[in-house]
Amino acid sequence: MMRALFLSAAALIAVSAAAQDIAITNAKLVIGDGSAPIEGGTVVVRGGKVVAAGAGVAVPAGIERVDAGGRWVTPGIVAAFSRVGLVEVDAVTGTNDRNAPRTRFSAGLDIAPALNPMGSPVAVNRASGVTRAIVAPGGSSNLFAGQGAVVDLADDMDMVTKPRALQFVAFGEAGSAKAGGSRAATFLLFREQLLAARSYARGSATLAEWGNDAMIQRADADALVQVINGTTPLFVRVDRAADIVNVLKLRQEFPALKLVLVGVTEGWLVARELAAAKVPVLVSPLTDLPASFEQLGATQSNAGRLKAAGVDVSVGVFDDDDAHKMGYATQYAGNLVGLARLPGASGMTWDQAFASISSAPARAVGMEASIGSLRPGRVGDVVVWDNDPLELGSRPTAIWIDGKAQSLTTRQDRLRDRYATPGEGALPKAYDR
């Protein structure tokens, strides 16, 4: 306990340091927008924002310079779909704010106050190069899970970049389980709840007059109105090809819906429809097992085929561990590069693969102007890597978030150091720190 207090005090001191104005030079510079790496590149961050990045960028006088020594320098990874900050230990329920299965509320839930920036998963994910994350609630007792946020992973107390940045709902088998047992029930419940919210917003009916005042609460209606009018993107978990097509059709009745599809395991079977709909997708790209009957067509070539069809594809780490292992994003993206070299398979170029874990998720959540790349005006989230960031075992050697230098030390590192030699010394290990 004392130790924890000491650590947090130290972290708070680190936070109080203001954003640095900094120029990182001599970099193998990745902008993150799908363009090729720039040898000998420079990125300049002032006031917490990128002001210039590229070759031949002049370093303003008096600014702190960091020579990257030719190493890879990239924007921070954007975790495309995660629960970082909501969970410390999954199986320890008091530390797990992913789901709210017994609440009366649904769409109105807002994860922002549940986020814990001091949690060890934040530090561990940060140390693997993740600086921002799209965080979605897991589920409620009702169809809609609630409102997620875009967060930063800095070692300070203010984690929220944008609250209520998305609404989450699952269709398919998971949706059926919430809605009463069938896909028909899911689609009808979805429609009824949106119509109830709209009616409520127009003042033309009270929620009670809809005949089922338990269906949604006032707070849920408030949130769903933002979904109907397209202010809040609606992230929809959906995997089966037929379900994908039907979810796209929701816009016939609710044309302003800003859909983002999550999972999309069988997306390649309806790639043309997805491309035509101009709906971004977040995929867990190494899913290749028919884990359920809505994932029969699973293949690791899904992401590559969707990309080739013109779909805006982001790569995430879910159906795996969505709170602790966001660092897998680089490994997964690297696998897409490998797939592109495999006969008959589809993957991505290196530049596309990196963009799928930086600018693409930023674009999916409507924040491409502020996060996810090193183009001028974006947040100063910069990572220096010891090697090719998509290669296995590469690690950041320095990270800035909003222009502030970050600690890369985790609780795991402290354990590692304590047990670098396992035998007891003159005193027990408990005195070794």
Binding site: D288, L289, S301, Q331, P343
Partner: protein
């Protein structure tokens, strides 16, 4: 506690009634008379014998490749020869290639022994993971040494083919789950498609027995209002069961007739050293207690599985000669996985203890080479010198030894099974995939030939049949 053990014994006894008539190859010494006779009865130890046969292949030479031989050796610009299902030679560029061998030029590519996953639930928790397929935990009693995982394995699990084609996995151990303290027997399989599990059983591999420490058994049974509900309960139930097994074995050893008891038979096999213990155990302090329990009753733990805290007692594990089967970086999903460190694998390796990378997962079994690469890199960052060829021992030879098949497979040595992977680059790169996989010299996967891509019955006629996966 007593209730749980008794329950399992009653179940085992009732099963034994139909299992008394010994038959099969190893039962020849059994008495002609009924089991009631004074002469000791020997029960068939292999009543579901392997029917696996190598599928045959052309004599093959792969040349110009970088070879990790699985035992820590490396040859650049090397040659691997195999024929008749066996490795014939492994050597440098000057290795003579007989005229009748097919020659594959592997310039820029790598050859390794096939990966062996010591911890899998393929087949007993198959895809699709529907309730009807949930066959991995006989969670009706905390001790079920009488169940055999092979009796749950569905050979049509599409996961086997993914492990082969994407993972270069040529053999694997399928274990019961970890709900029970003693989960039952495990089985080692060749990773080849088959109509029957017998057609996959690794010939001559010893049986294993799954045990589990910690949270899972006490949660499952404590949640049912029965023992064990604590870690001390876990040990009490285990010790009481071992005590019964020791008595059963003594009766057998003394030549006395016993009523056949399938649970006790497995445990007696462990005490006799014929069945290898594979113990799910996360925490260092619990592993140390299990080591003492194994000495109390006279058995040996082959491998601690998951073993996220092995780094805390790597010196003890080295001294005891117990392997650790580990993930590279899984953590935080439960309390006993909270102290995971990325350097666990290299720290165990550095201490000189047996080091294994395992999956416990139908997805990660497809990239165990990548997990080893991450662990290797974490070790190097803290100054532990791990060469690529040494790291490969974590993936093939060490698991083979821990499974009791190290004399047959796991390394590229003349006379051993030709379980071989040709990788299209360095297998410790994210950009690399298996190009060809041979099991006993038979080409079972070829990235260039869609016809050498297994498609399970379940996948026939479904979306994506025969697709790259």
């Amino acid at each position: 506690m007593i209730r749980g053990v008794k329950g399992s014994l009653l179940a085992a006894v009732s099963l034994a009634l139909v299992g008394c008539a010994a038959s099969g190859s190893e039962a020849k010494s059994a008495s002609d008379k009924p089991a009631a006779a004074e002469k000791p009865v020997k029960f068939d130890k292999d009543p579901y014998p392997s029917t696996y046969r190598p599928y045959g292949g052309r004599p093959t030479a792969v040349r110009g490749v970088t070879i990790f031989d699985g035992e820590g050796g490396r040859i650049d610009n090397g040659v691997v020869l195999f024929a008749g299902g066996k490795v014939e030679a492994v050597g440098g560029a000057d290795t003579a290639i007989p005229a009748d061998f097919d020659v594959i030029d592997g310039s820029g590519k790598f050859v390794t022994p096939g990966i062996i996953d010591i911890h899998s639930h393929l087949g007993d928790y198959p895809s699709p993971s529907v309730e009807a397929h949930s066959d991995g935990n006989e969670a009706t009693s905390p001790t079920t040494p009488e169940v055999w995982s092979e009796h749950s394995v569905w050979p049509q699990d599409p996961g086997f083919s993914r492990a082969l084609a994407n993972g270069g996995v040529t053999a694997l151990q399928v274990l019961p789950g970890s709900a029970n303290l003693m989960g039952g027997r495990s089985i080692t399989l060749k990773n080849v498609p088959s109509r029957t599990v017998q057609g996959m059983k690794f010939p001559g591999a010893p049986y294993g027995m799954k045990m589990a420490c910690g949270e899972n058994p006490k949660r499952v049974y404590g949640g049912k209002g029965r023992a064990p509900s604590t870690r001390m309960g876990n040990f009490a139930v285990n010790r009481a069961t071992w005590q019964k097994a020791a008595a059963y074995k003594k009766k057998m050893d003394d030549g006395k007739a016993v009523d056949r008891d399938l649970a006790m038979e497995t445990l007696a096999g462990v005490l006799a050293g014929e069945i290898l213990v594979h113990n799910h155990c996360y925490r260092a302090d619990e592993m140390a207690l299990v080591i003492d329990m194994s000495k109390e009753f006279g058995y040996k733990v082959s491998t601690f599985h998951h073993a996220v805290e092995s780094y805390k007692i790597a010196d003890i594990l080295a001294k005891e000669g117990i392997c650790s089967a580990m993930w590279a970086d899984w953590w935080g999903f439960k309390m006993e996985a909270y102290d995971s460190v990325n350097e666990n694998i290299p720290l165990v390796y550095k201490a000189g203890a047996c080091t294994i990378v395992h999956s416990d997962d139908a997805n990660q079994i497809q990239r165990l080479n990548q997990e080893a690469a991450k662990a290797r890199a974490a070790g190097r960052r803290m100054g532990i010198d791990v060469s690529d060829e040494q790291a490969w021992t974590w993936l093939s030879y060490n698991p083979a030894k821990a499974l009791g098949i190290g004399d047959k497979t796991g390394s590229l040595k003349a006379g051993k099974m030709a379980d071989v992977v040709l990788w299209n680059g360095n297998p410790f790169s994210a950009y690399t995939r298996p190009e060809k996989v041979w099991v006993d010299g038979a080409l079972m996967f070829d990235a260039f030939d869609p016809k050498r891509r297994p498609v399970s019955d379940f996948e026939l006629g479904q979306p994506g049949e025969g697709d790259v996966k």
